[in-house]
Amino acid sequence: MIITKQKDIEEIYEMIKPYSKILVAGCDGCCQPPRSINEAKVLAQMLELKARSNGKELKWKAITVLRQCDDRIAATTIRPFIEEYDAIMSLACGLGVGMLNRIFPTILTFPAQDSMFGGAENNGENYFVEYCETCGECLLGETGGICPMAGCAKNLSNGPCGGQVEGKCEVGGYIHDCAWVKIWERLKKFNRLDLFTIYRPPRNYQIWSSPRFLHIYEPISSEKEPKKEEKV
């Protein structure tokens, strides 16, 4: 899931201030905490109040999209409303905001959220935790499924560092777990400390450099294509 944090209402209002009719679009996709129709309505009402206190009238409509980052779903859901509104305020993560700007080039879509990280709720506790940095070179097979890129403040490949105390990290005041101690505990449990002791050489950060692309399929060379006469 993409974990997002709503921006301050002042900042959101500043973005839509030049417009009088806005479409507020929630997202039912993987955004967490939920950013759906209810959240879209609440945000729209807050913006209306804010506008009124500034002596302005704001017209709005709140909708939600199954997944804003899916171009077909987003296009079919939002297209019927585009003509009636001056701007879109999206409650999706940066993927959704980017997608709406791309598929609707005639209208600006603004972000109501700061996209934080790829993560999930922490065992029902009152916070979300980062699980994956989408680094492009997955180490989870060597680390008992615990990611040292997402879980270690220093992104160490060969941890732990000297900053762990009783399995807690120096960053954040010794509250958060040291990923490398967790990795050690987990691999020890499975008698796989051979994986822990591997020396991992410097990483290839070229594959982690933006903008990143991935071919959906490898282009097939003409030689591999079946010849017409061979087709049945």
């Binding site: 403040a153 220093k154 954040g172 101690v181 050690w184 020890k188 002791t197 050489p201």
Partner: protein, 310 residues
């Protein structure tokens, strides 16, 4: 891996079987390095300190770089430097360039460190680098020194840098096993020596040193003589995982009442000597430690009485 030649006086002395002492110098936000050079001179005068570490932005603070004070300490004072280098602020390109530059200036020891996270320092919003980790930094140094190349195998023109590389280990680490295993990785990629974090517990230190014996690498145990009660209190309260023994702490606290400065200094020195002299003797006598890394920053007056019998 065949043993790397001893390029530094520190590693030469260790290989000759001497029990060595190293000190520590801490450049801060300084344009004027007089205090660093003064401390280095005091260490040099004792005739007991073979080399001194020069820190690289401890606690993640933006301080004067380590390389230039290292060079000045060697050139102006004639004391060999142990160049601390963290991977916090520089990527592999900058690290390579600095190591080569420092080597041209005659630096012979490098201590490869991860470094305290920048979030803890005075520029908390800075982007921490950590392109390499400290183990990978040791690999970089090994490639430069042993093969004369950078990490990609591109040849260094005009010769190979001559540097011995050390790594850190933490005797206070809890759990300890991952720390020991991590040190193993560092030894495998080419560390020449270890300097440990500070220890206040002789039995614990002995146990830790015993566990490191399997790697067959010289270890300098870190000790931290404390020059006033305030530092001891701070250490005890705010440095997690380290506790100053109660008797030691109480004795230092009692010196707060002494009004005369000289008497107070004498009392503090006596407490440190009573604590550390037997500590060092015990380590020297009963362990395979190669020496002591004495982190008495700004407390050089203790070196002479503390080390006179070693």
């Amino acid at each position: 891996m065949p043993q790397r030649p001893a390029y530094s006086n520190l590693v030469k002395a260790i290989r000759e079987g001497k029990f060595v002492f190293t000190g520590e110098l801490e450049p801060e936000k300084d344009f004027d390095l007089k205090h660093v050079l003064h401390s280095a001179e005091e260490m040099k005068k004792t005739g007991k300190i073979i080399a001194a570490n020069v820190t690289d932005g401890p606690q993640g603070d933006a301080y004067t770089c380590s390389m230039v004070p290292c060079y000045l300490v060697q050139e102006k004072v004639g004391l060999e430097a142990i160049w601390q280098m963290t991977v916090r602020d520089r990527n592999r390109i900058a690290l390579f360039g600095d190591i080569l530059g420092g080597s041209i200036l005659g630096l012979k020891n490098l201590l490869a460190l991860t470094g305290d996270h920048s979030a803890l320092g005075d520029h908390g919003n800075a982007r921490a680098v950590y392109d390499l980790d400290s183990t990978q930094l040791i690999e970089l140094v090994s490639k430069m020194v042993d093969e004369g190349t950078d990490l990609e195998g591109n040849e260094i023109q005009g010769g190979k840098p001559q540097i011995n590389v050390g790594c850190a280990a933490n005797p206070n680490s809890n759990p300890r096993d991952p720390e020991i295993l991590k040190v193993g990785r560092k030894v495998d990629v080419g560390a020449d020596f270890i300097q440990t974090q500070t220890s206040f517990d002789v039995d614990d230190a002995k146990e830790f040193l015993k566990e490191l014996e399997k790697y067959n690498i010289p270890v300098l145990l870190g000790l931290f003589p404390i020059k006033n009660y305030g530092i001891a209190w701070y250490f005890n309260e705010y440095i997690p995982g380290v506790s100053v023994p109660k008797d030691f702490l109480d004795a230092l606290k009692a010196t707060k009442k002494i009004k005369d400065k000289q008497q107070k200094y004498a009392a503090i020195d006596k407490i440190n000597l009573e604590f550390y002299e037997p500590f060092i003797k015990e380590i020297k006598k009963t362990t395979k430690a190669a020496g002591i890394h004495c982190m008495a920053v700004h407390y050089e007056r203790l070196f002479e009485p503390l080390l006179k019998d070693f």
